[in-house]
């Protein structure tokens, strides 16, 4: 038996560094490979850590709201909704019905926008470059609505504690309906490009399988959990902001592989359009801001509120000590918890599959690192 040399080493450590086009941000993944097969991964995160939770202890409740958008910067409206719901629960106020309906419309548009970015970048990682341009084009339509409503496209700061700041502009309902009418045929086009495509199926089927028990054990929520077959959505289980009034379905998958997650997210986009149509049709008149005092000083207490963000369960645990600044704000980020399951899913697959798996978890590093 000859002496083993470095050529016989069976384990190769490869660094998928923080600067990488497919890691959706600054994520470092250290891969241990045996040839092309992955035998272990390790994620190094924290490159985008900005200390949002520490900042929260030094700003007033109203001043902290813009910072919250910058965590999941792709779907900023959902972050704002979660934070406003948490502080409203501490104060004991509820937003008036018209504000709730407009919040639902904007949040669902936001969900569509977030899934469009997911689809574009995921397809780009796999190698299909065209869907990226088409999804960005559709996202422009939704971003135009956000811009006309609250003044900013990406980090919106759309909601205020107690309701809304701005009344809807003239033509809001018309444009939202036009956007919905535009989106559905375009989603059909994406499906035409991708769903039956043999390259797509070959790259995605049976890759990154995470079954239901593993999902629950790892605390994975959102489309990943639904693709594993668990029909659970916070909008149906513990509705907030008037979601119990709308009729929509929860799409689920069967295997929990990447292809199922793709199908679940495409169906979710369609269901979001359905919710938006119902909300716009039934928009009540009325005030847009609830009875909130000028200086927000909630009584001593703590609360945990979670919403169904496009990426999973986004939770806010706010502790107040009866001063104008929160004592502790803890954000439970869905991407952070979902990213833990990367190791389980990637073992045994090829390097190219790791790229597909990172794309399908749908992480946004701003939320992972806060």
């Amino acid at each position: 038996m000859p002496d083993s040399t470095f050529l016989d080493a069976s384990e190769l450590v490869l660094n998928m560094g923080p600067q990488h086009p497919s890691t959706h941000g600054v994520l470092r993944v250290i891969l241990k490979l045996d040839g092309e097969k992955v035998i272990g991964t390790e994620c190094v995160i924290g490159y985008l850590h900005r200390g949002v939770e520490k900042i929260a202890e030094n700003r007033t409740y109203v001043q902290f709201a813009p910072y919250v958008d910058r965590m999941d910067y792709v779907a900023a409206v959902s972050n704002g909704l979660g934070y406003c719901l948490a502080v409203e629960k501490l104060l004991g106020v509820e937003a008036p019905p018209r504000a709730q309906v407009v919040r639902v419309i904007l949040t669902e548009l936001n969900r569509v926008a977030s899934h469009l970015i997911w689809l574009g970048t995921h397809a780009l990682d796999i190698g299909a470059i065209t869907p990226l341009f088409y999804t960005m084009r559709e996202r422009e339509e939704t971003l135009n609505i956000f811009e006309k409503y609250c003044g900013a496209r990406l980090t919106n700061h759309a909601f205020r504690i107690g309701g809304l700041q701005y009344e809807t502009y003239d033509g809001f309902e018309r444009e939202v309906r036009a956007c919905c009418d535009l989106l559905l045929p375009r989603i059909d086009e994406y499906e035409e490009l991708l769903t039956g495509n043999r390259i797509w199926i070959g790259r995605l089927k049976n890759v990154g399988i995470l079954n239901a028990e593993d999902c629950k054990a790892y605390g994975v929520t959102g489309p990943m959990l639904r693709a594993a077959g668990v029909k659970w959505d916070i909008r149906k289980a513990q509705p907030y902001s008037g979601y119990e009034r709308y009729e929509f379905e929860i799409p689920t998958g069967v295997n929990g592989d990447t292809y199922d997650r793709y199908m679940v997210r495409m169906l979710e986009m369609r269901q979001s359009v359905r919710i938006i149509r119902q909300a716009v049709d039934g928009m009540p008149a009325g005030p847009i801001m609830g009875k909130v005092p000028k200086v927000i000083r909630p009584p001593v207490g703590e609360v945990y509120v979670s919403i169904e963000a496009p990426k999973g369960e986004l939770g806010y645990y706010v502790v107040s000590d009866n001063s104008t600044q929160p004592y502790r704000v803890r954000v439970r980020p869905p991407s952070f918890v979902n990213l833990q399951s990367l190791d389980k899913m990637a073992r045994g697959s090829l390097v190219a599959d790791v790229v597909a798996i990172i794309g399908t978890i749908d992480i946004v590093l701003g939320e992972v690192d806060r």
Partner: protein, 183 residues
């Protein structure tokens, strides 16, 4: 819903307006754990219980196996520097079958090493690493107790209240990045 304030000189610190929580689950927990759980309360419509620190992992196991609380939502901590038992370690659990959420809060002192929940829920791996990173609470038995968000050689634990936001450690940025301060 009033704050508990005495009219004479030293005011007691106001506490959250709560009501006691009693139902079948609390009966089971009382039978199983007796006086290791000191209170069961509902505040703002949300249920929480306060056990003693050693009882947390057995309670998590019991809740997972008997009461179907199979999803650990979050592990976090809150710092109250003026109290003797400085940290409030919070576990939030959810049950898919029963569609309800409960919180488990324990009070631990500085230097105490709580047992890790990784054996019960795999989610706790990174969540406990983050609690260690931000507060310095080490979890005994954790497979990989390292800093997760901050660099490995950072000094200090940011979310503790001893240091304000402007007094954060800038030795690391001076050494590695060559800039004056991270602010």
């Amino acid at each position: 819903m009033a704050e508990e304030q005495k009219p004479a000189a030293p005011k007691a610190p106001p506490t959250m307006a709560t009501t006691p929580w009693e139902d079948e689950l609390t009966e089971q927990l009382k039978r199983q754990f007796g006086d290791r759980i000191s209170e069961f309360t509902i505040g703002l419509g949300q249920k929480f219980l306060v056990p003693s620190p050693e009882a947390v992992i057995p309670i998590l196991e019991y809740l997972k196996l008997e009461a179907d609380f199979d999803y650990l939502v979050d592990v976090t901590a809150v710092d109250y520097p003026k109290r003797a038992e400085r940290f409030d370690l919070v576990y939030i659990l959810y049950s898919f079958a029963g569609n309800e959420r409960i919180r488990i809060k324990t009070r631990i002192a500085e230097g105490y090493k709580p047992a890790t929940a990784v054996g019960v829920h795999l989610t706790a791996n990174w969540l406990e690493r983050e609690v260690f990173d931000m507060f310095g609470i080490e979890f005994a038995g954790h497979p990989d107790m390292r800093r997760i968000l901050l660099p490995e050689d950072w000094e200090g634990y940011p979310l503790r209240k001893d240091r304000g936001i402007l007094q954060m450690d800038d030795r690391w940025v001076k050494e590695h990045l060559g800039i004056e301060s991270g602010q």
